[in-house]
Symmetry: C2
Subunit: 296 residues, 2 copies
């Protein structure tokens, strides 16, 4: 029996409402800053999406575009200034950075309490240790989708096997830690994996974060598998697709997140949720749990 390709529109709306209520209840005045080195149309377009979403929450999203020949020292000065700015609760570095700048070095100089992209070494350490603070939004979205799905469809995550395709620091690795914390048995595949298809086929849940359009097909899935599709690509005909060939895969899967309208529709809200977490970390020295899955 064919499964369903599910839009997460309702969940995204609930998440937005929940976050808005936290911001309003606490009368929070937040601003976040995005730093771009050199002009980049894709980064600008990404930032404009964030700014629009931020406006819905009354969050002021600023963008600082520095010249392409900005030195690492100058960039670090800018970060130092934002670290010290009491109105700023989020610092985002837009990638890519010019080659003369060491990106990792830059991330690690952002105050980890303002590191809403979750790329700082301290946030990576907390994630590793099992006590995450600020988490990369996409990995967090995968976790929250699975918790939402679990609650809604009475599908306990404990003991379920999950195969994550992809081992990036922004998605694959953080998702592995988050799902391990949920007591899932976690398998991590990547470009060097032999027979990822067979490995996925043994898994209850598949998280596709491989960056290859439509790679995961029905033959990759155990009947009834739950699939979170992290990819987003534009095909030649101008349509969007994910890392999963959803129309084919749905013949075997029970549920697949849609592209667009799936995991990607949660991430900008979660990026801003990180700014709210940053506020609580900085102003109240407390970790705001934000259990979005308790909202139903």
């Amino acid at each position: 029996m064919a499964g369903q390709i599910i839009k997460l529109t309702d969940f995204a709306a609930q998440m937005t409402a929940h976050l808005k209520s936290i911001i309003d209840d606490n009368k929070m005045k937040l601003s976040i800053s995005s730093i771009m080195v050199g002009e980049n149309e894709a980064s600008k377009s990404y930032f404009n999406g964030i700014r629009k979403k931020a406006a819905d929450f009354g969050i002021d999203a600023k963008c600082e575009i520095l010249p392409a020949d900005t030195t690492e020292e100058q960039l670090l000065e800018q970060i130092k200034r934002l670290n010290a700015d009491p109105s700023c609760y989020g610092i985002m570095m837009q990638m890519p950075l010019p080659k003369h700048i060491n990106a990792k070095n830059v991330f690690d100089r952002i105050n980890y309490c303002k590191d809403i992209d979750g790329m700082n070494i301290v946030n990576q350490g907390y994630l590793f240790s099992g006590e995450p603070l600020l988490i990369p939004a996409t990995a967090w979205a995968v976790q929250l989708f699975l918790e939402y799905f679990s609650a809604r469809f009475d599908y306990p995550l404990t003991g379920k096997t999950v195969t994550i395709i992809g081992r990036s620091n922004t998605v694959g690795k953080p998702a592995a830690h988050l799902l391990l914390q949920k007591d899932m048995t976690v398998n991590i595949c990547h470009s060097k994996t032999v027979n990822a298809e067979e490995i996925c086929r043994q898994s209850d849940v598949v998280v596709a974060a491989c960056g290859v359009p439509k790679m995961v097909k029905a033959s990759w899935l155990k009947p009834g598998a739950v699939v979170a599709d992290v990819g987003i690509h534009r095909t030649d005909d101008g349509k969007l697709c994910g890392d999963v060939d959803a129309d084919d895969a749905v013949q075997n899967a029970s549920y697949i997140t849609a592209v667009p309208g799936g995991i990607g529709s949660l991430t900008s809200t979660l990026l801003l949720a990180n700014a709210v977490k940053a506020y609580f970390l900085i102003e109240k020295q407390q970790l705001m749990k934000m259990d979005f899955t308790e909202m139903k």
Copy 2:
């Protein structure tokens, strides 16, 4: 065909000789300090083993035993003093700590360059990010054994599947990251895993770090599997055994590390190797790679 239970005596001796040559060549004078809160016979016995090994390298291993009612503030003061002590290249906190002390808080206050147990949030972050600095010795031993094995038996690790049984911050999780860096496909099982036996049976390599004596038997293994046994337990008859029932498992495995004389025989040397890495990090601002597997 039955496999072999292999002692790592030769590898341990080579490792020791390699480390000694680095220390001698650089005329290094190192001391490390272990802090114990309250008397604990097991910790003392562990420390004495470290001290004896350290003496072989000319490393001065000191032990500071603080009263059981030491406050967290007093302990943090002691750590601050050792962080500032230029002769100290390693700080170890002996566990367990009394309940009134937050162990994680204490680990995170150790200068990460002196954190030779690899338990500090910054070292955990570096491990996560794929650029490890100081690594917990046992997980490092597992990686080095597999690299040694790979070189010696022409057994490429790239693309091999490994199941790690255990998800501790000291062994399971760091081993997962280290082996992911070696391009292995990594599966992490734990106490909530359903049918760990079947999952292991599909794996080329098994790392047993579950803390349960003799849990892994022949039926858990694919024919020809390579097994790293991290456990060490004393049985009722006074003998030592691991997490693998080696006499049974060897019927299916090709190679299993012995207990004693296996992974555990590498760890004290690697703890001291971390002190040598600490020296290079602090004095030369450089990461000493120490590729023990290039020694053969």
